[in-house]
Amino acid sequence: MDFAFSEEQDMLRAAAREWLADRYPPERVARLADSDAGWDPTSWGELAGLGWLDPELDVLEHAVLAEEAGYALLPGPWLSSVGLALPALGGAPKRPTTLAWADDAASRLRDAATSVACRADDDLDGWRLTGVKRAVPDVAIADEAVVVARTPDRVALFRVDLTANRDAVHPLSTVDTTRRLGELRLDGTPAEPIDAPAAGALTSARRRTSALLACEAVGVTQRALDLAVDYAKTRTQFDRPIGSYQGVSHRLSNVYAALQLARSLAYRAAWCVSADDPAVDEAVASARVAAARAAVGGCEDAIQAMGGIGFTWDHPLHRFYKRARWIAAFDGAPAAHRAELAEMLFAG
């Protein structure tokens, strides 16, 4: 029984934090978030150089990086690539890659291997996909997508080269502009079949991404708390720092409590994914519920504690809040995860 990261993992975290603080200060994140692309495409090569895409990284290392990426609000398709796409590809992708699972037949990952509207036809010159995949994360900035489609006899996974099929990509305006959604409108779009069985890869993608997003939410919560605490120490009203008022300080203590509780469950979920523990589905569902609550509630409390400043566009807090809400909505709202937990609890 050992609930601590290794020395190497701690070093990885320290290095990531330092690099992110240097390269992604809030002003730069804001500029990127408000830009057309929403990210800096050269960062992919930088991340590869830092080892963020190394094949030997386990989900525990990804968890460490995801938390730090959340703290900095790193824009870009890294999490889609190592969370959503990695299991189908059998390793971290070389280029930015996302996963397109949702369509009119199913919106949630747990159903994506059984209910699929998108069609795959084996043409003379190879496979072609037809149908609309919805709510695809980072689709506008990914070079490739793993697409779930139905062949005449089974549900299978396909790679679609997005750089060669730009007309299929339809970006959608997204509240969190650092992680945008879009549609893939496939109309006889050429695709390469992937050998990996769809069910296993999608289960793995769901677990990995849920655990990593829970860790990212922990990073988001920590940043919101740090911003609000710094403000509460320096902002004075009625000749006292506002952090000396219990109306403010108790609110922030509650954020701290929710953060620590969520952090415990997020790390545990990452470990359960890594060890393929029998409790993994319970662990990721619990982590998602706690992390969404901590991040959304924590950002809301931070906005309240910071008064008008936290409500302005110029202050970075709203960007963390929008990421928190993005995470909370991913693959089903917290109530859906609680419903799954209840199923497990009453089943035995």
């Binding site: 601590a4 300080s249 415990s264 469950l265 470990w271 519920v289 706690a290 419903a339 209840a342 609890l345």
Partner: protein
């Protein structure tokens, strides 16, 4: 990071399960939950059995009758106790507060005289900190300890003292320097509860049970040899006690909450509420709260093992537990529908949930109110300005 038991931990867990299976009464698992306070003599006999089997004071040094094991073993012990729904050791105050304080600050004689009895359940300790005028502001306490040769003469009143009616000894904080203010001039004493001048009066609480007591002290003579730490240095010693109260409590509280959660599931099934989506949502939410508490304890434990001091994350355990327990017991009573107002023999499980729900209101007050705990997090962890 690895949540699995090491081979030694797994063997310890296996032996403990086997032992619990044989030590508890055969029909233990089928018994309905017990209403109200435990039966003291039963608890004391049970404590003796735990001690004889080597399960009391797992982390205490061998020289004081313990096993000298790392804290992970205590965590495993509490997990298994919770799974088996076995009773607690009777020496809650002794094991969690008096013992660790004596080990840290006591004289060799105090260690020899008091530690083993705590483990065996032969010596029951109670706590004499709070006073009618000194609750959260503990340092304002007024109980006097006046030096008279080799003795202190103690006069004053203590309150909210659980176990005082059965206790042999009391860890007592008193003002030994007349006119001193606040944290200075306090002395930490081991007071013999059987000494002349000690009067214990039960304090009936919201449940109707006299779980707590008032202690009236009138010229009680305490030998100077029973001072823990320095005369006048009682505040630092008391802080050790409170650190242990808040530090070691997490696992025990989680164990109790887990037992209650299982009963909540049973109650939901028995009342037919388990198919109601709203109830299921609330139960799942409580489960997340329980899991969060459990794994935060583990994380805090890992920090303790790694660095020797509990991590700041541990400071939220009691805060979170108390509020979760209140939500859980409220939901349980709600599930009883029109029978919710009943108590006693006609009620579900003899009024077990009604009792637990009322009792839970004390959870956010005892052992540091939630307001004080939030102040501690704000000031010591977040570094915010002191509130006044």
């Amino acid at each position: 990071m690895d949540f699995r038991d090491t081979p030694d931990e797994a063997a310890f867990r296996r032996d403990l399960r086997t032992w619990l299976g044989s030590a508890l009464p055969a029909d233990w698992a089928e018994r309905d939950p017990h209403v109200g306070r435990w039966d003291f003599e039963f608890a004391r006999t049970w404590s003796r059995r735990l001690f004889d089997a080597g399960y009391a004071g797992l982390t205490w040094p061998v020289e004081y009758g313990g096993r000298g094991l790392p804290p992970t073993y205590q965590a495993i012990f509490l997990e298994e106790i919770a799974k088996a729904d076995a009773p607690d050791h009777v020496g809650v105050i002794g094991l969690g507060m008096a013992g660790p304080t004596i080990m840290a600050h006591g004289t060799p004689e105090q260690k020899r005289d008091h530690l083993r009895g705590i483990l065996s359940g032969d010596t029951i300790f109670c706590q004499g900190f709070s006073e009618p005028g000194s609750g959260s502001d503990l340092a304002s306490l007024r109980t006097r300890a006046e030096r008279d040769g080799d003795e202190f003469v103690v006069t004053g009143q203590k309150v909210w003292s659980s176990y005082a009616h059965v206790a042999d000894w009391c860890i007592l904080l008193a003002r030994s320097e007349p006119g001193s203010a606040k944290h200075r001039g306090l002395t930490y004493l081991l007071l013999d509860m059987h000494a002349p001048g000690v009067e214990v009066r039960p304090l009936r609480q919201i449940t109707g049970d006299p779980e707590f007591n008032e202690i009236f002290l009138t010229d009680v003579r305490v030998p100077v040899s029973k001072v823990v730490g320095e005369v006048g240095g009682g505040w630092q010693v008391a802080m050790t006690t409170l650190l242990h109260e808040r530090g070691t409590l997490g696992f025990a509280l989680t164990a109790r909450l887990e037992a209650l959660f299982r009963r909540l599931l049973t109650t939901a099934t028995k009342t037919g509420a388990s198919t109601d989506p709203v109830v299921r949502d609330r139960i799942a939410d409580l489960y997340v709260d329980l899991q969060a508490l459990r794994y935060t304890n583990y994380r805090s434990l890992a920090t303790l093992v790694k660095t020797g001091v509990p991590g700041p994350e541990g400071s939220v355990a009691k805060l979170h537990w108390s509020e979760t327990n209140q939500r859980l017991t409220s939901l349980a009573v709600e599930l009883l529908g029109p029978d919710a107002p009943l108590s006693g023999a006609g009620a579900f499980w003899g009024g077990y949930w009604q009792y637990q729900q009322l009792r839970s209101r004390g959870n956010t007050i005892e052992a540091g109110t939630s307001e004080i705990l939030r102040n501690i997090v704000a000031e010591r962890v977040l570094g915010l300005a002191r509130s006044r």
